[in-house]
Symmetry: C2
Subunit: 415 residues, 2 copies
């Protein structure tokens, strides 16, 4: 099945909202094994919507729309689709009752235009909206399907997951399951190069790498008649990828580096603490973004002055005078110092030059030292994180954060 | 002029990245007074790209593409556009030199495919890439324009602002200038309601509100023959908006709340420090994201345990026993304590329940106390930041961060 996404809404064309629906649906369709070659956005204009719909249906089996299902005059998706197929509209009684009941519950007067949301093209399949008013609708005719969903992501996403995805799985037969390997310390092109033979020889499951900032993920997806069958196709290939790539794989289906770190800390019953300079709190913010972090994170010290590095973390004044704040010695003393200060099992110290100013020939912008300290383990890494572009402060800080999380994760895994 | 955006990249069709370029360009084109009726996404496939390009050019005067300008085999935008117009490729010498110089600076071997990025269709206009390798390109023929930009937002955005926007302004005649008012503490619908008369009566300059997470911006844009003329149209309206909205306007063209804070600290020669619990370092990370923050930021303490709150920040054990860590008293003592610890002029203390667990009837998820302390000023605010949805941890933390920055900004402005 080839599908196409058509997002409807003048607010997208004006740039007032970012179209996150497109990416969400794209990912869900890819997971279902449904191909998509085109995505489009069109405004709340009947003739342009009709033209876009016709164009999409000329090249796809299924067109999924978002938006234009609300109660106001510019919500014209249903009418346009019904006209296109030459079918009339009818009231969907369960939706009428649901809308009336919701207004009663909210104790708000219901204006008649709200019931327009319960109108659907005759003979269509209706999907309940668990988090809003307008139901989703599928119209099938002449081997083509148009699936209409509401625009707000808070309504569209649960509807897709709970109702549209099962509907599409029934249409395509079978089910898709996937596992994602998380990789750090190897670039996308090298991952692709290393896995090329496996990627080209695998059709079910498929193996595909994706680059994220500073990280790479490899997704292994299989199509089968049952979850069990899918997993028995996936698991040996996941093992194969792990074997080929080695220890740059830091987790499977782990969500993020900070989640991997927090879960490993919980598992090992260890507590971490951070001492940051150039990252300014990004590492502690990332760790505490994970629910449950409070059990394994003592605290973070962000020292932006030498005096504070000495007073709080015990960085020696002699070190600061002799080799400066951006040095392996300072990073190491920060990591040890924050352990002493907080009583944590593992400490990280990060010091560097995020730019744009503050760099020199000897210590250029992008130079970052990261130290990890635990009872069993002590390590300092020197990183050059500039790629020579302008406005790199954000990217240098983010890469330093990722490297710090990764060094902590490795140390905790080995502890 | 009618323009259309064509984003190129299989990674968008697979949902691996959210297409933020579409919204950015849409907003910039709207500000330039250029109409857009369609946006599309197509994968790295030559025949489908060619078909999409032809379709877009059949209904628009200008097509702006993003993506497909890199050095690998699937980067085929330039070739497809050149073929469409029937023109050959040539090397752009300044780009060759720039790429060679960058590789020399990075001390990395340059593989020959990198120079493919310096190839452009003959006779085209080339736009420098200030933050990456691949230049932007405009090709004009038969009254149609195709403008190609790189895909990474960090490269596309500065290129659009610095080079593409002036180019389009020359094409459309006249120039557009705009100023943006930054608003905190009033929702988008209320801003829109309050400014409705001004918005509907203004055509040059136009007045348009945009919602960002927890913040609202109002952009005032004027079209004129010179910058001077544009500004003389804009400035009185900016003053009018300020007068209507009052003190919820915290800055004009200030970039972000953290930038407003850092610039005000620099101006007033004051130093700040942060003491965070539920925000986990987000506030210090936001402040230190601004270049030059080191002059006005002493440091940040993220205390995730009561013991550390007492030991580092001097929060009284009696307070913690009597009213708990999430209390106005604790927030206040954190704000005062971090000033004492770091010697900063202004301190902020943030404590709350980010969830998903840890809430109670008395202290529900979303309850956050923020205190600001300076010589002249001491204040604690109680905030309820939950909107009753699932998975609110990130949103509660971000809203707490914004509120903390805003309270600091207000205190520094009054200092």
């Amino acid at each position: 099945m080839i599908a196409e996404v058509l997002c409807i809404g003048t607010e997208i064309l004006l740039g007032d909202i970012v179209n996150t629906n497109g990416a969400f649906i794209a990912r869900e369709l890819a997971a279902l094994g449904i191909d998509m070659y085109h995505q489009s956005v069109v405004g709340d204009n009947p003739s342009r919507l009709k033209e876009s719909l016709a164009h999409a249906l000329s090249r796809a089996d299924a067109v999924l729309t978002t938006g234009g299902l609300g109660p106001t005059y510019d919500d014209l998706t249903k009418k346009t689709v019904a006209d296109y197929f030459g079918i009339g509209m009818q009231m969907h009684e369960p939706s009428v009752q649901k809308i009336e009941a919701l207004f009663k519950k909210l104790d708000r007067p219901m204006t008649p235009n709200n019931l327009l949301q319960a109108q659907v093209p005759a003979g269509s399949t209706v999907f309940f909206n668990d988090t809003g008013f307008a139901p989703g609708i599928a119209v099938e005719q002449d081997g083509k399907i148009v699936i209409m969903m509401p625009g707000p992501p808070s309504e569209m996403r649960p509807m897709f997951i709970n109702h549209i995805s099962p509907y599409l799985q029934r249409k395509t037969g079978g089910m898709i399951r996937s596992k994602t390997l998380y990789i750090f310390g190897m670039g996308e092109s090298q991952v692709e190069h290393t896995l090329r033979d496996l990627m080209t020889s695998s059709t079910n499951p498929t193996v595909a790498p994706y680059a994220k900032q500073g990280e790479v993920q490899v997704r292994v997806s299989a199509k089968a008649q049952s979850e069990q069958d899918a997993l028995s196709l996936i698991d040996p290939v996941v093992d194969q990828v792990k074997q080929i790539l080695g220890n740059v794989v830091y987790g499977v289906d782990i969500g993020s580096m900070q989640n991997a770190l927090v879960q490993t800390l919980i598992e090992k019953k260890l507590v971490a603490a951070t001492a940051e300079s150039c990252t300014g709190g990004l590492v502690s913010a990332a760790i505490t973004d994970i629910p449950g972090a409070s059990a394994v994170f003592a605290g973070g010290i962000c020292t932006y002055t030498n005096a504070l590095k000495t007073r709080l973390l015990g960085v020696s004044e002699d070190t600061l005078t002799a080799v400066g704040a951006v040095s392996p010695e300072t990073a190491d003393q920060m990591a040890q110092g924050v352990r002493t200060l907080t009583g944590a099992d593992i400490g990280v110290g990060i010091t560097g030059i995020a730019g744009p100013s503050g760099g020199s020939d000897e210590k250029p912008v992008g130079l970052v030292y990261i130290a990890v300290s635990s009872d069993a383990h002590s390590e300092v890494k020197k990183l050059m994180l500039s790629r020579g572009h302008k406005d790199e402060r954000e990217s240098i800080r983010n890469l330093a954060m990722l490297n710090a999380l990764y060094m902590m994760l490795t140390a905790v895994q080995e502890a």
